[in-house]
């Protein structure tokens, strides 16, 4: 059962320029969520406290779950302020209430028998990978974490990832930290034999990650993003192409995804 509730914001603070960390109170979502799933948040305001809403911006916005604290019943969302929805969200404060639906979609598959994994995240794509990293480490998996961003100021969670015990590999486009260049070049040179690769970032980046991993015979799971409306598989807006024999079919990012097998998803 998906939760659809008005939930209270506990915290909503800037962690880097244009990047925000929000904490929401929800025992149910915290308990149910798995890495790779998302929540669907409405930015509508209620008019005069009744059920009618402002209707602008109209649609809910999907956000991947960054982390959960099951004991304290907290769900964390790490997001970048890019447009109208995220701008309005960034102005919400502690004790404000949001209509939230979730957890939604299928998360990353973590097979029992894996010993080593690689995570490749670009920019804000790091958001769901932190939750995944924690789950992998808890299962005793050794993780190489490849993190790329435009520059040092947009490299998030460096201390958190290192202190959890992942092997961190950093690349920045401007060379302000780590290897200068693209994270995929870093991955190409360094990707060892691991049991699985997980990736979240731009389509451009993920397409290269899939190529590199598959060339080494490593399975790869990708987290897809498309413009979304309902979030529950009804409207068929957020589809992506998935190979089906010689042809393809459109699969719903919200329902069959957002995590897909890199071998079959077509990132065009």
């Amino acid at each position: 059962m998906t939760i659809l509730e008005d939930l209270k914001i506990l915290k909503n603070e800037e962690v880097a320029k244009n990047y925000m960390m929000m904490e929401i109170k929800s025992e149910n979502i915290a308990r149910k969520a798995v890495p790779g799933q998302f929540v669907h948040i409405s930015l509508n305001e209620k008019v005069n406290g009744n059920k009618n809403i402002t209707n602008d911006p109209l649609l809910r916005r999907p956000f991947s779950i960054h982390d959960v604290d099951v004991e304290r019943g907290i769900v964390k969302i790490l997001y970048k302020v890019v447009g109208k929805g995220t701008f309005l969200l960034s102005r919400k404060r502690a004790n404000d209430v949001l209509s939230i639906m979730g957890p939604l979609g299928n998360g990353f598959a973590i097979k029992k028998d894996i010993a080593k994994a690689a995570i490749v995240a670009g920019g804000i794509g790091v958001a769901p990978m932190y939750f995944l990293l924690k789950a992998l480490l808890k299962n005793g998996v050794e993780v190489d974490f490849y993190l790329g961003a435009l520059s040092k100021s947009e490299l998030l969670l460096l201390d958190e990832i290192s202190s959890l015990g992942a092997n961190l590999h950093i690349a920045t486009d401007d060379g302000s930290m780590g290897k200068k260049g693209r994270v995929i070049d870093l991955l190409y040179k360094n990707l060892k034999t691991v049991d699985v690769t997980y990736t979240c970032g731009s389509k451009l980046m993920m397409r290269e990650v899939v190529k590199i991993a598959l060339a080494k015979g490593i399975p790869v799971q990708v987290s897809m993003e498309e413009k979304m409306a309902c979030g529950i598989g009804a409207c068929l807006s957020c589809v992506c192409k998935v190979k089906n024999n010689e042809h393809f079919e459109y699969k719903r990012v919200c329902a069959e995804g957002p995590v897909f097998d890199g071998k079959s998803v077509m990132m065009v």
Binding site: N55, D56, L59, E226, A229, I232, A234, C235
Partner: protein, 310 residues
């Protein structure tokens, strides 16, 4: 509340489909119903209209398929659906278990397609009506092409009527010179009801990429932004035909729904608002009931077209 004890009657009859209340869901916004059953009791709705079905499976349009607009959205899904046989095998058993009335929206590339789909669904049982989509702006063939002229609208309606004994609702496009003329044509062809409006054709352009945003170039505008256009269409059609009207287009509250009813709609459908708040339809039913009580109206049918005082 002036009369606490008044229990207003919300029952309506749409061309032979008896509904417990006038609130339905609009095709394409409610999947096959089951997707929303995790949030609401579907059996409380007057009827559900499920996703448009075609004879053969349809892949749908390339992405992006939607773009948000001020208080609205453009969509160009392109009638992606698994085909009528799949729907009969996989969803009709679920429809048969529902207490609410299930109406299936159908589309086709030809008049014959429409008739075949209607026949297959009728034979399968478990549904209470057929909604004929002659107004989808997002497919190259069929869809809106049938709804653009009174002659083709008449022909497809007549073909579906011949293929089924279920009530036939024809869904009309606002993208015509005179929607009332099309409504009259489908009424003459035997339509049991009309539903309006489908989406308004529109587009958005990405100024950096210097190309259309939608994969299909054009899409259909829906959401609160289209409501005044829709209310006026219902107003016009109410003056033109005697068959019941299902009003839709931007309804997100009971107040919105009541505007449509006063303009002449006997039932209303919730569309885009389902994406925003899956409980909208239930809240609209409750709000209509509250309104009837506070205005001391014992029967919703008394309100239909009541704004036509001029």
């Amino acid at each position: 509340m002036k009369n606490e004890k008044l229990k207003p009657c919300l029952k309506v009859n749409i061309g032979g489909i008896g509904m417990n209340n006038p609130v339905m869901t609009a095709s394409g916004t409610f999947g096959f119903g089951i997707e929303y059953s995790q949030f609401i009791d579907i059996n409380q709705l007057g009827a559900i209209v499920v996703k448009g079905v075609t004879l053969k499976p349809k892949e749908g349009n390339p992405t992006p398929r939607i773009v948000e607009t001020p208080a609205g959205m453009l969509n160009s899904i392109g009638l992606q659906n698994p085909g009528v046989d799949y729907v009969i095998n996989n969803y009709v058993p679920y429809f048969k278990k529902l207490k609410t009335k299930v109406i299936v929206n159908i589309s086709g590339d030809s008049t014959l397609d429409y008739a075949l789909v209607a026949k297959k669904l009728t034979d399968a049982g478990g549904i209470s009506g057929i909604e004929v989509n002659i107004s989808c702006p997002n497919v190259k063939r069929g869809g809106m092409a049938f709804g653009a002229s009174a002659k083709s609208a008449f022909e497809v309606t007549e073909a579906v009527k011949d293929a089924t004994d279920l009530p036939v609702i024809v869904k009309l496009s606002p993208n015509v010179t005179d929607i009332a003329e099309i409504a009259k044509a489908v009424e003459a062809a035997g339509a049991d009801a009309v539903s309006l409006i489908n989406t308004l054709t529109g587009m958005a352009i990405d100024i950096n990429a210097k190309k259309p945003v939608l994969g299909n170039v054009v899409g259909g505008l829906s959401g609160p932004t289209v409501k005044p256009v829709a209310v006026y269409a219902v107003w016009r059609v109410y003056k033109a035909v005697d068959i019941p009207i299902i009003g839709m287009g931007g309804i997100s509250s009971a107040e919105d729904a009541l505007e449509f009813i006063l303009a002449g709609a006997r039932a209303v459908a919730i569309g885009t608002a389902n994406f925003v708040n899956p409980k909208t339809a239930i809240e609209v039913i409750e709000g209509i009931e509250r309104y009837l009580k506070s205005h001391e109206i014992s029967d919703i049918n008394e309100l239909v077209g009541k704004a036509h005082v001029f």
